[in-house]
Amino acid sequence: MSEFNGILTVTVFLPALAALVILLARPLNLEDRVIRWFAILSTVAAFILSLVVFLAYDRDVGGVQFIDHLNWLSAETIKSSYLLGVDGLSAPLVLLTGILGLAAAFASRNIGLRVSEYFVWLLLLESAVMGVFVSLDLLLFFVFFEFEVIPMFMLISVWGSGRPRYSAMKFVLFTLAGGAFMFVGIFAVYLTGAVDSLTMVPIPELGIVGIADQIAGVDLIAPASLIFAFFLIAFAVKLPVWPLHNWLPDAHTDAPTAVSVMLAGVLLKMAGYGMIRINIGFFQETNGFTVHDAAGILSVVAAVSVVYGAIVTIRQTDMKRLIAYSSVSHMGFVLLGLTAIGGSTAATQLGGINGAALQMFTHGTITGLAFLVVGMAYDRTHTRHIPHLGGLWRRMPVIGIFFFVAGFASLGLPALSGFVSEIMVFLNAFPVWPWAASISAFGVVLAAGYVLWMIQRTFFGSKPPEGGIPDDKFDELTDAEPLDLIPILALTIPIFVVGIWPKVIVDVFKIGIEGILR
């Protein structure tokens, strides 16, 4: 009963393999340039593979495809297998990881400190995230979910700015604390009498029954609400949801640009993905408690996240911190979309979750782009303090244009991808939770405020007379180089494509979510 296509295994471990090669080649003392391009090429290869996976995913057949299945762990109380596969939910996220990995590697071209180590960790990070999205075994999912912490810890600690060690440790402790709850949740699910595999989704070809079917209508070993909460806490920390968002601004602000791009672009999405796959996937027909019961309270939390995040965003003076807090607000929309599961019609449920999934994809590209261009501006001006900036448009119009694109997509301008996902979330959440959705709508208004205000203060107007960049330095500021355009375009193209023709992603997500809804 095993099957091995190999393409996903290669996609996941290709960056890790490249990292290993870099590590083994260290005694050769290769030039930094060689290492850099080797790493970049390996992310290009991973991107191509992820694109192949996304395009080759057969939408007419649906279900789980490209399965890699081997037995892995079989203790008395826990049996787990090495099971990779993609369904409609994970295929776009695999593509997103490929895109962001590529962008992050290109954005790291200017790293000069301990170059080989840097790329080793960055590539391992990409492998870990890719692994999260394609693991269909719950324990394997958890292994990748936890492993990602180590590269992040290293990347922020060594290559970060500000208070990197503090932020790195904070990130790790928050994530591990959340993960700890999930760890117990996994056992609790697995050890429920009727469960005999840790596979998250049903795979009829292999005769595998998913956990959701196994625990439907069965008394769980602990109250279903408790297990639900264990999983939810882990993902709520990661998403992040107010009031567990505290680590995010620090981690983002102090991380190097490429790591912020990865963090905002894909790491947060692991949480949204987990919520859909596990919190919604598993707990629809459980005894005593279902996800529908939690939707109401979650919609309130989502609304608070959106509005609180947006209000805090407005008063930030550090550009990266500002974008970081805007992430809290935008990820609140993801949660809001998910609460449509409390709706009475299947169409509402499907639409809301689909909107949430799309919001994850679009936020990944939009915020990734925002961090990228802010990083580029910072590389040149050496300050992110907004009152010290101004008039940058004159010196760097190209960076400015893409800053505009990211900003407008973020505030939900039609024809850009942010609009599509947010409208999907609102349309489907409103009939279910009118109050929460209405309050959340203010998040969009506030977003317009903080985005436009930031652009105005940094790129327009004139250079501040005091505290800013000295005149002679200001005149020497340069615009983006041609190579900078590669990561920028890698993130901009999806923003436009999804904005204009959302079907390309939405339809794939739909296949996956239909499979998860019961």
Partner: protein, 505 residues
């Protein structure tokens, strides 16, 4: 005694013989034959010791596979010793730990030029005692074997003969005596109540005795016996609340000795306690109270170990508290005795404990021995002393980091897998709260392990002189690191072995 008895004891005998050979070699050969080049020839002793370990290894393998001679898994020597696979599993663990410690301590031992023979023979006698202990199936034998391990260990702890070391030895001696006294009390209760000293007979007689309702463990005698025995072994396993000696002794004792104590001594105590208590686990009342007892001990041990480790500045003390916490995690598996398992498994508890112990042995040896190599060259046993280690010895630093991450329980190392298996058994037994406490503890532990990892990798150091460990040290650490990764990535290798070794349940 019959031939079968000798075969069953052959690994222990080989180990003890090796100890005597080394002691004689040290006394006779070194001085007379090699004349002036005393240290040079003494150094050869360590290689004799390492290579000599092939003998007990061979005899243990022989018993496992039954190549030659009579091997049996039923009790021999009038029922006092059982050379079943459970025993052999732990004997392999002890031999392996001894080999790794010997391998890594060769350069470190330069400071013990005059007492090298003593070091080796004491270590090997302690190892022989442990090998006897893990197979002991009779109360007096347990006691004698335990003393055989304890006395050499005390001498080893005091071997450095400076203030700290003497203090460590004295403390170890007094508390060790106290703990064996408690143990003896416990054994006496068991004997007095049942009139037997053989474990298999005790089980038979207990079954015939009445169980009182409402009294923990069915009767006061059994309750006192279990509590006192657990207290006695608690010292050896270094679990709270019997952990007070651990930081002092680990700090004062030579570092390889601390490594040996933290792995071999702990594993053998866990083994014998498992054998003793699992034979009683058939009695449902016993098992239920046992579950509560060990759940409480596990909670105390994890929490105390981790909280105390947070504020340590001395690396040896920190590692000591870390081993206390690790023992707590193992205790979680202990608490998962099968009373109302939801998976219907009866062997999940001991299986998880053995898996954890095996993984812990590799991981902890990697960390301790890497630290031995460092401290020998820097003489600095503070945590700050590890600062910037990666610049001074990249390979050693990376291996130590992997070891620390495994202790913390990061995938894909065995630390993670072992925790997954142990905690899952706890949930399986309905001890969800214990699993929650345990995982919260791993998060607390993350802080201090990662602090060290951070120092090693990112710390500043004034001293940039490279640290160049010898081949033996590197090999020992590398075995530990490779073991902790392999057991984590391909757990079925060891789990299969453990399933074969679960002869006590």
């Amino acid at each position: 005694m019959v031939a079968q008895d000798y075969w069953a004891l052959s690994p222990v005998i080989a180990m003890a013989t090796l100890a005597i050979v080394l002691l004689s070699a040290d006394a006779l050969l070194a001085e007379r034959m090699f004349g002036g080049r005393r240290w040079g020839s003494k150094r050869a002793l360590s290689w004799i010791a390492v290579i000599g370990l092939a003998a007990p290894t061979f005899f243990a393998l022989n018993l496992w596979f039954g190549w030659i001679g009579d091997s049996t898994s039923s009790p021999v020597v009038y029922g006092s010793f059982t050379a079943d696979r459970f025993t052999l599993f732990f004997q392999f663990l002890i031999i392996g730990a001894t080999a790794a410690v010997l391998l890594a301590s060769v350069p470190y031992l330069e400071q013990f030029k005059d007492s090298l023979g003593e070091f080796f023979s004491l270590l090997l006698i302690a190892a022989a005692g442990m090998m006897l202990l893990v197979g002991a199936s009779e109360l007096i034998t347990i006691y004698v074997a335990l003393e055989t391990t304890a006395l050499p260990a005390i001498a080893l702890a005091a071997l450095r003969r400076d203030g700290f070391s003497i203090e460590a030895g004295a403390k170890f001696l007094i508390l060790s005596a106290l703990s064996t006294a408690l143990l003896l009390f416990g054994l006496v209760f068991l004997y007095g109540y049942t009139g037997a000293t053989r474990i298999d007979e005790i089980v038979v007689r207990l079954a015939a005795l009445p169980f009182e309702a409402g009294v923990p463990f069915g009767s006061l005698a059994v309750m006192f016996a279990v509590l006192l025995i657990v207290a006695g072994f608690g010292f050896k396993m270094a679990i709270a609340p019997w952990h007070m000696w651990v930081p002092d002794v680990y700090q004062g004792a030579p570092t390889p000795v601390a490594a040996f104590l933290s792995v071999a001594s702990k594993a053998s105590a866990f083994a014998v306690l498992m054998r003793l208590l699992y034979s009683l686990s058939g009695f449902e009342t016993v098992a239920q109270d046992w579950q509560i007892l060990f759940a409480v001990i596990a909670t105390a041990s994890m929490t105390v170990g981790n909280l105390m480790a947070l504020s340590q500045t001395n690396m040896k003390r920190l590692l000591a508290y870390s081993t206390i916490a690790q023992a707590g995690y193992i205790m979680v598996g202990f608490a998962a005795v099968s009373v109302a398992s939801s998976s219907g498994s009866t062997t999940s508890g001991p299986q998880s404990v053995m898996y954890y112990l095996a993984g812990y042995a590799f991981t902890n040896l990697a960390v301790f021995l890497a630290f031995t190599a460092i401290i020998h060259r820097t003489g600095d046993d503070t945590i700050e002393g590890l600062s910037g280690l990666v610049k001074r010895s990249p390979l050693l630093a990376v291996m130590m980091v992997i070891g620390l991450l495994s202790l913390l329980g990061m995938p894909p190392t065995v630390g993670f897998m072992a925790k997954a298996v142990v905690f899952s058994t706890a949930v399986d037994q309905g001890l969800v709260w214990l699993a929650v406490v345990a995982v919260i503890n791993t998060v607390i532990a993350a802080y201090y392990y990662l602090r060290i990892v951070g120092l090693i990798l990112f710390g500043e150091t004034k001293d940039t002189e490279p640290i160049k460990p010898g081949t033996g040290e590197m090999a020992a650490v590398a075995i530990g690191v490779v073991g902790s990764i392999v057991l984590g990535v391909v757990p079925w290798l060891i789990l299969q072995l453990i399933d074969d070794s679960l002869t006590i349940v």
